[in-house]
Each structure stands twice: as structure tokens, then as C-alpha cells.
């Protein structure tokens, strides 16, 4: 059943603009600080997908960690391709992870664009952290962050 659902998603996604379908910020301890996805009915699937992608994030961090942890590139690249989605990862120096899920059919997105999305996300996240009323470790409720994420997401059709 899940299978046919994703098939449908595939058909529809062609008409989407060239943006992310799910964006997540994950704390150092691996719990979600922020996660949003479109379409909403697939939310659970995205949660599973993002959670599973942490396996690869950890693998990549530890693989690099041995070599040169301080000069590590924050962008981790493609983590986890699936039939329907491509999952990209990014990890800040404080081990906060960003995950962007893009529809596989969305082939026009270049690596550079993904990188710049992550950079934007990181900047906005930094702003959130700078807010004196934000308690580090809490889920992110910032409207500014939310609207920045919205701008990067596929507009639900």
C-alpha cells in the first residue's frame, strides 16, 4: 500500500517546483529540533527516512573524524538515496545535523544549490541560537526560521 502511495507521489512531484520536500534539524543527541515536510500525509514516512539517515550521518562524521575533525567539511553530501527521495546531510561543528530531503524526480537541483540551501539553513539556525530567549536544546519555534524553511520547501499542491 505504501508502495502505490509513493508511486502517486512520484507522479505528482513532477509538477512541483524544484525544492525540498522535507527539512529537518536534529540535535547533537539525535532528537529532532525541527522537522517539516510536504505533503503532510507523508509526514510519518519522512520522519522514518530522516531518522534512518542519521545512520549515514554518524558513519560519515566518524569516518572523517579520524582524519581531520577540525577541517571537516560541514556538507556531507548525499546520504541516502531511495527510489523516491534523495537525502542530503550537513552537520555543524556543534554536531547539530541538518537534513534535506529532495524528490528523486527533482533532477534539476544541483549540488551547489543543495549546499546553498544548507548554508541558508545554518545561518538561520545560528540566528535562532542567538536569540536569548531560546533555550538550546528546545525545539525550534521561531517564525523567522519557519518562514525561511517554507521558502525552501515545495509549495504543497
Amino acid at each position: 500500500m505504501e508502495h502505490t502511495q509513493s508511486r502517486d507521489a512520484c507522479w505528482h512531484s513532477r509538477h512541483h517546483s524544484k525544492m525540498a520536500v522535507c527539512i529537518a534539524v536534529i540535535a547533537k543527541e539525535n532528537y529532532p529540533l525541527y522537522i517539516r515536510s510536504v505533503p503532510v500525509q507523508n509526514e510519518l514516512k519522512f520522519h522514518y527516512t530522516v531518522h534512518t539517515s542519521l545512520d549515514v550521518v554518524e558513519e560519515k562524521i566518524s569516518a572523517v573524524g579520524k582524519a581531520m575533525a577540525d577541517q571537516r567539511e560541514l556538507y556531507l553530501g548525499l546520504l541516502y538515496p531511495t527510489e523516491d527521495y534523495k537525502v542530503y546531510g550537513y552537520v555543524t561543528n556543534s554536531k547539530v545535523k541538518f537534513v534535506i530531503v529532495v524528490d528523486s524526480s527533482n533532477t534539476s537541483l544541483r549540488d551547489n544549490e543543495i549546499r546553498s540551501m544548507f548554508r541558508k539553513l545554518h545561518n538561520s539556525f545560528t540566528d535562532v541560537m542567538c536569540n536569548p530567549f531560546y533555550n538550546p536544546g528546545d525545539t525550534i519555534q521561531s517564525k523567522a526560521f519557519d518562514s525561511m524553511v517554507s521558502a525552501m520547501m515545495v509549495q504543497a499542491s
Binding site: 532528537y31 531518522h51 534512518t52 545512520d55 558513519e59 538515496p81 528523486s104
Partner: protein
């Protein structure tokens, strides 16, 4: 003969050129070539050649292998022929002709014809090989063609190589061979490079036309693949792979453009419905079947992709990059799915799954075929994706074909299975005989429910194992979860449970709420099927409070609990109740004590208000809510005699940190630091800090490892942990409470005595109990009982004796109720009478020190007791009032014991202290109505004055001086100072020389009073005096004077001797000069006759008294020459006189004080006192030891050690030991009067400084 060099593909093994000998008709050269073929074919590839390439590509070393083909005109490429594989790169004409005649007759024409044909086809790459053999030369010695001429002739035409004696093993032969081979390789490579360049140019031109109508990808594919083949033959696999990758990218781009609406005609063929889904086939290097299809333009998308990948795979394995194969395979499979979607290729449902499944397994088989086990295990991370993908696809096929349900497939699903299997076609020849081909697996899996299960489980477990092995636990859990789903579908919840638990634990510990909710729902279903009631109820409770669920779902789960709770009471009656963790059901948010101190005394009720946040979606009626409490023994409240209400660290309200709801991860809800400042004060001075610091009170929570199993406080999140109930503990109860969704407030009250700690909270709903096993932070309250307590404290800092003083009496009633008629009875003591007034006001305070009432106390005083009747006071109140007391300064002096010395002597000092200790501590005892024992009360009073007396003499006249020092902090008025003789026996007259007026004595100041002592008869030996004065506090307005007395005693007051000294300059001098000797003449005169009862040692010798004098200079301005001390025998009659002369030298000029002259009584040793010859009275006795004198006169001995006598005192130390020694006894003050005390003499500076200096040294 002539040869063409070319190559063939694909029937021949790749990576070699093959050259076959070609012999022209009617010539014997075929035989020549055949004889040379074997060494030629062997040696040609032996040495590498450097291949220089166009377009700046890096040169490479390659080994040339050739395929030799007999020359045929048909083989020459026609104009426009793109084939590169069959291209004859080099034409060789072989001849061993060495005879001019033969050459002219046939060879030349033959050669010309051959060249003509070549020219006709535009082929310029040829070479003529002349083989020279010595045999041939020998045979035709006559007609020998000069080698040079032939070569020359041929050279005129084109290129010629000479090969000498090729079949003989000589150095000449070898040289010729290598030269020949080098030439051949060079020519071959040159031709190849040229032709390849041409080919590439053509290919590029063709590619540039790709946007023109009529261009076909398939045609172009064939051209570029030709190039790839050539590279492959040259073993340039990288280059070959590049060709395929370019083709791949080109095709992908077209598909994407198509998706973007930019369709091209040739893509049409790829959009046709897919009828076969046989999957990848990687066992052959080249799948000719599919290649043909592409060549014909009839291949489907999957076929093209399969073929392309097959070639890439082959090349990658040649390149020994198997892990790139797996990675590319996964990309390819994902990409194909997308491309089919983009191109809208219609496909039977499930066909793609079949294709993907088969392809995954095929790739894995191929990789397993070329790697050993160790390599495979080390690279699981590269293959596991394919395993997981295959598993996923098989699962979806299974669901699609009805192989997962308990009942088996329906007919519709069976039809689908048949259709899917039809698309697989027949198994390929390569795998027909293998037991475990992907094809067989799929066919078998789809054939029956059991087979499917076997295959699916095998794959799933393999994938889970692999994920675990590389530490991708989350991925493993996800597969585990789908396994659980499978088991649930199969009706096998036992097997599903552990997978769900694993996944749930992970989601909970990492705080992913949606997966938690989803998995928990599955868990609930599973537990319900398993009949694990307790677990199911716990999970239901969690789900009922889960905000991620809809209200309907939550109410459903809540209802499940309530149904169970009520149902089991109906049917089964006495069943043990099911205890569940409360945290899923309700959260304790706040706890409030009334009163806020959480401390009450017995008899009052302490209220505890709990704020419970119910997480349930509906109102839940509780039969009872109980809080169990624990009695703390170590601080048992009953005997806390000294403990009153204390302030607690928490001000009555305790906020509980929000336990994590299912939405919040436990790691995020990590307890915040509870910091507290600590101060270590010095025990002596409360205002001094020894140290200060911060402590974290909950380190055990903060520092807890996060990866360890869930903390005991949140046991319920994955599976219920048995909740331990405190049995038999004291319990605070509240019955019939209905918990509404949201905040609820419940009030408990407690009265039992003791200090209690709240331990657990338990809510009972029918058969279900929700238990909060620990209440953290620790909350305590205390109900205490206190014994009545009576304290008396001074109102001021110090109580002064002799004046009326106020003391505060505080009665803390404790549990005792002061009734009307209760009284305190004070035993009166003489030294401290209570100054009674008939009534005095009292204040009543309650336990929080608030003023509640005023009352008046009645005080009755009898001879023995003072009785204070108390007003009625409720328990745990404080009654305060003030008492005025007076401490009488004792009039008889306290002669301190230590004033008497151990040898019985009285210290003859002229200063006496009244008392060493200036305080008085009268003990008082009070009888209280609540106790049979009396309470001792002690107050400390300080005597405000200190008195000293001294005796002053002037010749025979005597004066007494009393110094009164005010040691208190208060100023006093003093008057009426009087000195009287205690016994009034003698005819003594004390005449006051003091003022009669009132005097002010400020704090720490002294007043001196002097009396002139006159007497008519003999002066009494001992004089006992009493000094008395009246004093009153200067601050008091109405001055009531209180008396002060001071008694003292004076002994032997009469002056016995007078000493008179005179210093005379040296003879003939007017004045003394410093540095020169001068004389001291002293005269000692007896003034009074010795009294008979003077002292025991003296009375024996009546005739004379022995005195010792000593000249000692304390100011270091004199040097005594000669004796400084000596004995003098004084006749007993009055006015007896004795003169002594001593030589002195002043050291300084100026008015120098006279040196001290001391006189002691000399008591000869008792044993030989009579034999001591001392008639002249002047005994040299410098060795006289003064050590025998009391040690505490050290100050006096020091003065004796003037310059002249230091050594003698020291040397006398030893010989005097053991012998009976004479003793010295000082006179009492006033017995010796020194006339020249305080006299000065003028000393002039020395006239001759030089002499002084020399003398001095």
C-alpha cells in the same frame, strides 16, 4: 604476399588485434608468412609502445597485439565506412625474393598491383618486408640480387624492412627481428592513431548533429561503442568506460529533457510498453541479444539501461572496482524507476519490482563471483543497500500477490502473479543449471506463500545482520519493523514483538515522536493479540495521552483501560490490581504546603495540595488517590525538644520538572542544573566566611549517561517495568476524585506526628492502579511536638552587678497549655534579689512570631520564693516578659588564693587587685508547672569597678592611695569616698585629702583618692582598711547611689631605715666629668628600734642587724668601680648610722640620675651564722647568690646585674649549691626611705676626649 592488419570483434576475446597472413594468388609467400607467424605473433605485443595522443591527452604505454588477415580486396573499407574494429590498419607485403630475375618477372608486378588496389581505397599505411635467408643466397649464387639494389628499388617506391635469417638463432637474426618489430609497431601505432583520430572526429561530428531531425541515439550508440571496444582491446578500460559513461549521460539528459517537455522522436521507441523484465544480466561480457536490439532501434528503456550497465559493470570489474558496481547499480535502479516514471512507460504493476529485485540479486551475484568472502565482509556497506532494496521489493511483490495474508492469495492476485512471471520469460542459458539464480529465487518466491516467507525472511535477516554489522542500527530497526508488520499480517505477534520493542526503544531514546506513536500503536495491537494485559494497558495509557493521535484514537485507548478496570472488578473479584506507571496517565506538576513552611506542630492540620495534569482525553473517575509517606526516623519529631519551626529550603511550593511527554525526547528533558550556594562560616565568628562555593544538587541526574537504558523514572516508554508499591507505608488519601483532562487540584491533610517524606503517588481506577514510584525532588513535611521551654536572657550586652538590671524571660509553651493559675516559682537567693513590682506586662506571640496578645503578670514575693503567675497561653506560643534583678557586689573581699606564695611569703607588692575575675554568676532555679524538676537559670553579672591601693611614704610620714577604675562601658557618678580602719583599735587617724564633691567616672577611666595616715602611739604592724564609695549610673535621671566596698590590708608600714646618698667629684674638681671617677657616699641611718616581733631570724641577734646594700644602675649611665654591694652591720640603737663609699664613673655628660641603691635584710645561713666574722661590717661578698630569692623577683635581680657584678653572680652559681646559703630578704615598701631617690647630679663633658677614648678601650 600482402597482409592486412585489422581486428575483429566481438567474437574474439577482447583486448587483442589479430593479424592473419594473406598470400597473393600464385606465390609462395604464404608459406613464408606461415613460417614467421608464430614468432611474430608472440613478439609483437612483448614490448610496450608509447602512445601519443591528440587533444593534449596524456600519452600512454600500450602493448600492441595484432590480428593478421589475408589480404582481400573486399576487406578494404569502402568510403564512409565507420567500422573501426574491422579496419585494416596496416598492409604488409611479404617477400623473400633475392633474385633479380624473379623480382623483375613476378614480384614487382605483384607488388604494383597490390599497391594499386591500396591506393584505390585511399589506404596509405603499408609496408614491404623483405626476408633474407642465407640459404636462398647460397642456392642462387649466380643470380643474386644485390640486397641493396632490391632494397633500393623498393625504397624508391615506399617503405621496406629487411628481416635477415629470421628463423636462425643468431645475433644478426635477433637484431634484425627487433628492428623489424620496432618498425612494425611504430607503423601500426601511427596508422592506428591516425585512423582513430579520424574516427573520433567523425564521431564528434555525428554527435553535434544530435539535435537535427532524424538523428538516432541508437546509431550513435553503436559508433561510440565501437570506440569503447577499441579502447577495451587496447586494455584502456578507463577510456572504454568513459565512452559508456558519456553515452549514459547523453541518454539521461534526453530523458530529463523529455520530462521537461522537450521530447525527441527517437525516444519514442523507449516509451513503448515494457513487456519483459528479466533484469540485468551480468554474466556475459557483452549481451549480444540486447545489443542487436539497440542496433535495430527496438530496445526498450530497461533493455538499453541493462545493456549499458552490463558493459560498465564488465569494465569496472576489469578495473577492479567492484564496489563502484554496487553503488552504480543502486543509482541505476533508482534512476530507472524515475525514468520509467518520467517517460510514462506503461508497465504491468509489479513488473518493475520484479526487474529491480532480479537486478539487485544479479549484481550481488556478480560481485560475489569476483570477490572473496573477506573482501565481501569488509565491504558490506557497499552491498547492503542492494540487499535492503531487494528485500523491500520482494516485500511489496509479496503484498501485491497476496502472499502475506493469512488466507493466501486471491484469484485476482494469482492472475497478477502469472502475468508477472510471464514477463520473466525463460531463464537464460548461463544460469539454467545453477541452483540459486535470481530468476529461480523470484519464481519460487512468487509460487507459494511458504516459499515467499522463506525467501523474504532470508533476505530480511541478511539485510538486518549486515546493517547491524556496520553499525547502522536505525536502518536495521526499520527493516525489523517491516518484518514485524509482516509477522503481524501473518498472525504471528510473538515474533513481531521484539522487533517492535527494539525499534520503539530506539525512537523513544532519541525522541522521535511520530515514529514513537506509530510504532506504539503497532505495539498495542501486538500486545493485545498476545494477551499481555498489563503491557497493553500501559501502552494504551501512553497512547491515550499521546498528542500525536486524533481525539478518537485517544479516547479509544482510554476507553480500553476503563473497560478493563471496570470489567475485571465485576467478574473476577479478588484479583491483584494491575499497577501501571503514572507518568503516562498524569503528571505531578506542583505541590503546595499550607502552611508554607511545611512544618506544623501537633494538633494543627498540614495541608498538601497536589496539582496533577491529567493526560487522558476524557474525565477519569478515581476511586482514590493516595500519597504514601515515609516516616523519617533519624529526625523523629516527638523528641525534638529544641526544634522549633524552621524555615525550609523550599518556600511551600514545589514545582516538579515536566516529565517528558511522548513528544519530548528524554535527552531534551535532561534535568536542568539545580545549583545552590554554600557558605562555610567560621564557627567562632559568624561574620567571617571561611569559604563559599556552588554545588550542583542533582549531579546524579545531570551526569547520567544518556545512552544507558531509560531511567527508572520513565520505565513505561518502551515496556512497562514492574512498579514497586510501598506496602504498609503511611498513606495520605483522598477518595472519589474525578480527574478531568488538564490540571486538577487535590488536597491531602496530615496530622500525625513526625517528619515525613513523600514517596509515591497512586491513583486507583477499578482494577488499575497508576503509580508514580518516586517523587523527585524530595519533599518533606513535619508535624512536630515540642516540650515547653524557658529561657532567661539579659536584655543588654552585659549585666552589671550592683545596679538593677533587666532580663528577658521567654516561655515557649510547646505542647503545654498554660492554664489560669499556673505560676513560675523562683527560689530567692540573697546575692540576687528579684526587684519585685506587683505586676509586669507580658506579650504573647504565636508560632510564627506574630503578636497575638498582651497580658499582665502578677508577682508575689515571699521570703524564700518569688511567684510569677502566668496568663493563660495556648500551646506553641511564646510568652515574653521582663524581670528586674539586682546582683549584690559581695562586700567581703575575695582574697585570691594565688596571692599567697607557696613558701608562705606574702608578695610585697604595693598593688593589690580586688578580684581577678570580675564577674559573678549567681545560680537561680525556677519551678515550672509542667515539670517536677526545677529549671536552673544562670546569669552572669560583671562588677563595674576594679580597685587598687598603694602605700606612699615621705620620711616617717605615710599616705594611702586607692585607685578605682571603671571597667564597664557605662559612666558613673561617684561620691562619698571613705577610708576606714576595719577594727578601729589603734589610734590611727586617716585624713582625707580628697574632694567632697560628686565625681564623674567615665568608662575605662580611673579615680585616685589619697589619705594621710597619722598615728599617736606605735604604728600597728598590720593595717586593715575598708574603702567605700557610692556610685550611680550617670545615664540614670534619678540617681540612686549604690555602695561599693573594697577591703585591703597593709603590713609593716613604719619606716626603719633612711638612705642618703651623695656624689662627689674627684678631688680638686668642681664638677663630675664624664669618663672620670667620682665618689658615691651613702649613709644608712636607723630610724626606729627593731621591734621584738619583727621576724624570726632577726630576733636572735639583738646587738646588730645585718643589711646588704647594692648600688645598681638601671639607666646604664654609671659604671661602678670595685664593689657594688656589701654588707653593713647596723647597731640596734636608733639613729645608728653607717657610711659606705663606692667609686663610680659617669659615662655621659648631663644631669644624670643617681644610681639605685637597694637595701636588703641579710639573713646569714642558720648553721654557721655565729662564726661569720663581720665586725667591720664590710664583707666582700660579691659571690653572694641572689638565686635563692623567689623566682618571680627576676625583675629585681636584673637590676642588680649591673656592669660590675655580672661575672660574679654567674660564677657563684655552682659553688653555692648544696651549702647552706645566706638569704636576702627585701623590706616591705615604706620600711626603707631613700632620701636621694630621684636626685640628679650634673656631669660635665670630659675635657680630654682622646684620653677618654683610650681609657674606654
Amino acid at each position: 604476399g600482402s597482409l592486412s592488419l585489422s581486428s575483429f570483434l566481438p567474437s574474439l576475446p577482447p583486448s587483442s588485434f589479430l593479424i592473419s597472413p594473406v598470400s597473393p594468388p600464385g606465390a609462395g609467400d604464404q608459406a613464408l608468412f606461415t613460417s614467421l607467424y608464430t614468432p611474430l605473433a608472440q613478439q609483437l605485443p612483448r614490448e610496450p609502445m608509447e602512445w601519443r595522443r591528440s587533444y593534449g591527452r596524456a600519452p600512454k604505454m600500450i602493448h600492441l597485439e595484432a590480428n593478421f588477415v589475408q589480404f582481400k580486396e573486399e576487406l578494404l573499407p569502402k568510403e564512409g565506412n565507420k567500422a573501426l574494429l574491422t579496419f585494416p590498419f596496416l598492409h604488409i607485403y611479404w617477400t623473400d625474393c633475392c633474385d633479380t630475375e624473379v623480382y623483375k618477372a613476378s614480384v614487382r608486378d605483384n607488388m604494383m598491383r597490390w599497391q594499386g588496389k591500396l591506393r584505390l581505397h585511399g589506404s596509405a599505411d603499408w609496408v614491404i618486408v623483405v626476408v633474407e635467408t642465407s640459404d636462398a643466397k647460397k642456392k642462387n649464387k649466380t643470380n643474386i640480387l644485390p640486397r641493396s639494389s632490391l632494397v633500393d628499388k623498393i625504397h624508391q617506391i615506399k617503405i621496406c624492412v629487411v628481416l635477415s635469417d629470421p628463423l636462425q638463432d643468431s645475433s644478426r637474426s635477433q637484431e634484425s627481428w627487433s628492428a623489424f618489430l620496432l618498425k612494425l609497431r611504430t607503423l601500426l601505432l601511427m596508422s592506428f592513431t591516425q585512423n582513430l583520430g579520424r574516427f573520433e572526429d567523425d564521431m564528434r561530428t555525428l554527435r553535434e548533429k544530435r539535435n537535427q531531425p532524424g538523428w538516432s541515439f541508437c546509431d550513435y550508440f553503436m559508433v561510440q561503442e565501437e570506440l569503447a571496444f577499441v579502447f577495451e582491446m587496447l586494455q584502456q578500460f578507463e577510456e572504454a568506460l568513459l565512452q559508456y559513461d558519456e553515452l549514459d549521460a547523453l541518454f539521461t539528459q534526453y530523458v530529463l529533457n523529455f520530462g521537461a517537455g522537450d521530447g525527441v522522436n527517437w525516444l519514442g521507441s523507449f516509451c513503448s510498453p515494457v513487456k519483459s523484465w528479466t533484469g540485468l544480466l551480468l554474466r556475459r561480457p557483452i549481451d549480444m541479444e540486447k545489443r542487436d536490439g539497440i542496433q535495430r532501434g527496438q530496445a526498450s528503456l530497461l533493455e538499453l539501461r541493462s545493456y549499458l550497465f552490463c558493459r560498465q559493470c564488465t569494465l569496472l570489474i576489469f578495473l577492479q572496482r567492484p564496489w563502484e558496481v554496487t553503488q552504480r547499480a543502486l543509482e541505476l535502479l533508482h534512476n530507472c524507476v524515475q525514468e520509467l516514471c518520467l517517460l510514462e512507460v506503461s508497465m504491468l504493476e509489479g513488473a518493475l519490482d520484479c526487474w529491480v529485485f532480479l537486478s539487485c540479486l544479479e549484481v550481488l551475484h556478480r560481485i560475489e563471483g569476483c570477490c572473496d568472502q573477506a573482501q565481501l565482509e569488509a565491504n558490506v556497506s557497499h552491498t547492503v543497500g542492494l540487499w535492503a532494496y531487494a528485500t523491500d521489493k520482494l516485500k511489496s511483490l509479496g503484498y501485491m500477490c497476496g502472499l502475506v495474508s493469512e488466507k493466501g492469495p486471491l484469484s485476482l492476485e494469482l492472475n497478477r502473479t502469472v502475468d508477472l512471471l510471464a514477463g520473466l520469460g525463460d531463464e537464460k542459458a548461463e544460469t539454467v543449471h545453477s541452483l540459486q539464480s535470481p530468476y529461480k529465487k523470484l519464481k519460487e518466491a512468487l509460487s507459494s506463500v511458504e516459499a515467499f516467507e522463506r525467501h523474504y525472511l532470508e533476505l530480511s535477516h541478511a539485510a538486518v545482520e549486515m546493517y547491524r554489522a556496520i553499525g547502522r542500527m536505525r536502518s536495521a530497526q526499520l527493516i525489523g519493523k517491516s518484518l514485524a508488520e509482516f509477522y503481524m499480517r501473518k498472525g504471528d505477534p510473538e515474533l513481531a514483538e521484539s522487533f517492535l520493542q527494539n525499534a520503539l526503544r530506539s525512537y523513544v531514546s532519541e525522541g522521535w515522536s511520530l515514529p514513537v506513536t506509530h510504532t506504539r500503536k503497532q505495539m498495542a495491537e501486538c500486545q493485545k493479540l498476545l494477551g499481555k494485559t498489563e503491557n497493553y494497558l500501559q501502552t494504551s495509557a501512553l497512547l491515550a495521552g499521546d498528542a500525536n493521535l486524533t481525539d478518537e484514537e485517544r479516547i479509544h485507548f482510554c476507553q480500553e483501560i476503563l473497560t478493563f478496570a471496570n470489567q475485571s472488578t465485576d467478574s473476577k473479584g479478588k484479583q491483584p490490581k494491575v499497577a501501571l506507571s503514572m507518568s503516562s496517565f498524569a503528571q505531578l506538576k506542583q505541590l503546595q504546603f499550607r502552611p508554607a513552611t511545611a512544618t506544623v506542630h501537633s494538633g494543627t492540620a498540614l495541608q498538601v495540595e497536589l496539582c496533577l495534569l491529567s493526560l487522558m482525553p476524557v474525565a477519569v473517575p478515581l476511586e482514590q488517590l493516595a500519597a504514601s509517606v515515609h516516616l523519617n526516623l533519624e529526625q523523629g519529631g516527638t523528641n525534638g525538644k529544641t526544634r522549633g519551626p524552621q524555615s525550609r529550603p523550599y518556600p511551600g511550593t514545589v514545582l516538579f520538572p515536566l516529565a517528558n511527554s511522548s513528544g519530548m525526547p528524554p535527552s531534551a528533558a535532561c534535568p536542568s542544573l539545580e545549583l545552590e550556594e554554600i557558605q562555610d562560616r567560621s564557627p567562632l565568628d559568624p561574620h567571617t566566611l571561611n569559604s563559599t562555593g556552588m554545588v550542583c544538587k542533582n549531579t546524579h541526574l545531570v551526569m547520567r549517561r544518556h545512552d544507558s537504558s531509560p531511567s527508572p523514572d520513565t520505565p513505561n516508554l518502551v515496556s512497562p517495568v514492574p512498579v514497586v508499591m510501598d506496602d504498609g507505608a503511611k498513606v495520605l488519601m483522598s477518595g472519589d476524585v474525578t480527574l478531568l483532562p488538564g490540571n486538577n487540584s487535590i488536597v491531602f491533610s496530615s496530622q500525625e506526628l513526625g517528619t515525613y517524606t513523600l514517596r509515591q503517588l497512586c491513583a486507583t481506577v477499578g482494577q488499575v492502579q497508576f503509580v508514580l514510584p518516586h517523587i523527585s525532588p524530595l519533599v518533606q513535611y513535619e508535624v512536630y511536638s515540642q516540650e515547653p521551654q524557658l529561657t532567661v536572657e539579659p536584655l543588654t550586652d552585659q549585666l552589671l552587678a550592683g545596679l538593677p538590671q533587666r532580663a528577658k524571660v521567654r516561655l515557649q509553651t510547646g505542647h503545654y497549655t498554660v492554664k489560669k493559675g499556673d505560676a513560675l516559682q523562683l527560689t530567692n537567693i540573697d546575692s540576687m534579689p528579684v526587684l519585685t513590682s506587683s505586676s509586669c506586662p507580658a506579650t504573647i506571640l504565636n508560632s510564627t512570631a506574630e503578636h497575638v496578645g498582651e497580658s499582665v503578670l502578677f508577682i508575689q514575693s515571699s521570703e524564700k520564693v518569688t511567684c510569677i503567675s502566668l496568663p493563660p497561653t495556648p500551646p506553641y506560643h511564646t510568652l515574653e516578659f521582663q524581670l528586674e534583678v539586682l546582683c549584690v557586689i559581695p562586700s567581703d573581699p575575695v582574697w585570691p588564693e594565688n596571692q599567697r606564695l607557696t613558701n608562705g611569703e606574702i608578695r610585697h607588692r604595693n598593688i593589690f587587685c580586688h578580684c581577678l575575675c570580675h564577674c559573678l554568676c549567681p545560680q537561680m532555679s525556677i519551678d515550672c508547672p509542667w515539670s517536677i524538676y526545677s529549671t536552673p537559670i544562670s546569669l552572669t553579672f560583671y562588677i563595674p569597678f576594679k580597685a587598687k591601693h598603694s602605700l606612699l611614704s615621705a620620711g616617717n610620714r605615710k599616705y594611702i592611695q586607692v585607685c578605682l577604675q571603671n571597667v564597664s562601658d557605662v559612666n558613673f557618678h561617684l561620691m562619698d569616698q571613705r577610708l576606714t580602719e576595719k577594727h578601729q583599735e589603734s589610734s590611727l587617724e586617716l585624713q582625707s585629702l580628697n574632694t567632697k564633691a560628686q565625681q564623674l567616672v567615665c568608662s575605662k577611666q580611673s579615680v585616685y583618692c589619697v589619705w594621710d595616715v597619722r598615728w599617736k602611739e606605735n604604728m600597728p604592724l598590720c593595717l586593715q582598711c575598708v574603702f567605700s564609695a557610692s556610685f550611680s549610673s550617670a545615664s540614670e535621671e534619678v540617681s540612686s547611689f549604690k555602695p561599693y566596698h573594697y577591703e585591703f590590708q597593709l603590713e609593716r608600714v613604719t619606716t626603719l631605715y633612711s638612705v642618703r646618698a651623695e656624689i662627689m667629684p674627684a678631688a680638686g674638681e668642681q664638677n663630675c666629668h664624664s669618663g672620670s671617677l667620682c665618689g658615691l657616699e651613702m649613709s644608712i641611718t636607723r630610724l626606729a628600734e627593731p621591734e621584738d616581733n619583727e621576724d624570726d631570724g632577726e630576733t636572735e641577734e639583738v646587738c646588730s642587724t645585718k643589711l646588704m646594700y647594692e648600688v645598681a644602675d638601671s639607666s646604664n649611665s654609671w659604671v661602678v668601680y670595685g664593689r657594688s654591694s656589701g654588707l653593713v652591720s647596723m647597731p640596734a640603737d636608733a639613729n645608728a648610722n653607717h657610711r659606705v663609699q663606692v667609686e663610680l664613673m659617669p659615662l655621659f655628660a648631663g644631669h644624670l640620675p643617681f644610681p639605685d641603691i637597694k637595701v636588703f635584710k641579710y639573713l646569714p645561713p642558720s648553721a654557721n651564722s655565729t662564726s661569720q666574722p663581720d665586725t667591720d661590717g664590710c664583707v666582700e661578698n660579691d659571690t653572694l647568690s641572689l638565686l635563692d630569692r623567689p623566682l618571680d623577683d627576676q625583675g629585681d635581680t636584673a637590676s642588680i646585674r649591673s656592669r660590675g657584678s655580672v661575672h660574679s653572680v654567674g660564677s657563684g652559681e655552682q659553688q653555692s649549691r648544696g651549702l647552706p646559703m645566706p638569704r636576702l630578704e627585701p623590706f616591705n615598701p615604706g620600711q626603707v626611705f631613700n632620701h636621694s631617690q630621684g636626685c640628679q647630679v650634673l656631669v660635665l663633658p670630659s675635657t680630654d676626649d682622646h684620653v677618654l677614648e683610650i681609657n674606654a678601650t
